[in-house]
Point group: C2
């Protein structure tokens, strides 16, 4: 497996409302699902406020470290929408009223008989040299500069934009995931699972506890870009779960003291 | 208003499952709500994978910058639970089987007649010198070292732990928020709202667009720790919305060409 061709990504979600709890983010999970399907490794997510310094610093850290950066939020027409300016500052270029975006927006508002105000013109702002990300929902485009993809925070618009963007990217080999439901808690399986992980280093085995209010169970995920490796590790995990179940059964039988065993 | 006493915080959510999309995080929004109620400013959130280097780096960046750091995830008994080790490494101290945690867990498993396996003992690991965060759900404690509060990722356990932790912290003056529902999109209000924000610099006025599938409306939030400042700015915003509504009404009347006006 050629791992050098695997692309990495980060997301930067921008908005005071995400940090105050007013808005519960829906874009991170959506992007994460999409990256998994596209075979791109999402490595990090950050959420920052609508503050220029915070955006610039986070963006520069992420864009130098990962192949792709995706941002959400802060590209609307109001005073707290400062993402375009912050991205321009991070790249050290001017933030302009993009002529093509101005035309698109002017035409759309003219059709609807709505004044193309100064505030609405803010939605055409982007760093000089950016390419557009189309917005089929409400016209105002997102933009791409370098490896940074700047999109709206409103989930319907974000989803439309990211779907377009993912279509532009060279996708990698998809990570194959096998899920094994395990009725036992992590304490029951931890030692054996660690041994299985050690024996199958080319896979990543994750253990995800679930608490139903009374007891813990676990979902076990075996992940790799190598199908055969996933199959072998998943078989070992399934055998472990079966063995544990059989053992628990023997303990119950013994404790109940059935006639045959007594 | 004495702003020097206002405490800042960051959250570090740890887990491959958050980045693959398998798990949609519920702890960030919960923490954000709690911080707002406690009057603590949540300034940044990061999500990283179960990778030691990524955890150490993010933790050191956040703990040096903010008053409090809260982490979720990676303190269970399986091999992919490496948060305790990573936190110890970030602080440059040993990661030990905490004697008090070992006692708590041993007693709990003894009561339930369950073997206290090596995997289960992993849940007693924490950086030397940590204090416990009680876990009323499943016993295994979280821990506090320096300004870092390390909690479980399972939402029920995270919520119990963070509620306890918030009770320990000196809380600040709460941010007062006034919400104004605005039936107009951001393009209608952007210029006027920017002027209001400029006239009320001691408040933070946020504009949150909502798209119902056909048209945009907006929720406007005025926030400050100063009640009078919030009231004055909110009045200005309400007056703006009322004026816009009246203007739209006049336009409709004119366009309909009523007898009186014709």
């Amino acid at each position: 497996m050629n791992t050098s061709s695997i692309k990495t990504a980060a997301m930067l979600a921008i908005g005071d409302e995400l940090l105050s709890g007013r808005t519960k983010d829906k874009n991170i999970g959506y992007l994460a699902d999409l990256m998994t399907v596209a075979g791109i490794d999402l490595k990090e997510v950050r959420i920052v406020a609508d503050e220029e310094d915070a955006i610039v610093e986070a963006l520069n850290a992420l864009r130098s470290r990962y192949d792709y950066v995706f941002t959400s939020g802060g590209i609307g027409p109001t005073h707290d929408d400062i993402t375009a300016d912050a991205v321009a500052k991070a790249f050290g270029v001017a933030c302009i009223h993009d002529p093509e975006a101005m035309e698109l927006l002017a035409a759309m508002y003219a059709r609807r008989g709505i004044e193309f105000t100064e505030a609405r013109q803010r939605m055409a702002r982007m760093p000089e040299g950016s390419r557009h990300i189309p917005n089929p929902v409400s016209t105002a485009p997102g933009f791409i500069i370098g490896n940074v993809h700047v999109m709206a925070g409103v989930p319907q618009v974000f989803q439309a934009m990211i779907s377009h963007v993912v279509g532009l990217l060279p996708t990698g080999a998809q990570v194959i995931t096998r899920s094994i439901t395990c009725p036992f808690g992590e304490g029951d399986i931890g030692t054996m699972l660690a041994a299985i992980q050690k024996a199958h280093p080319e896979t990543s085995i994750g253990s995800y506890p679930h608490f139903d209010g009374t007891r813990f169970s676990t979902e076990l995920l075996v992940r790799s870009r190598d199908l055969q490796a996933v199959s072998l590790a998943a078989e070992a995990v399934e055998a472990m779960v079966a063995e544990l179940a059989a053992e628990k059964e023997r303990v119950v039988m013994r404790d109940q003291g059935t006639g045959e065993l007594a």
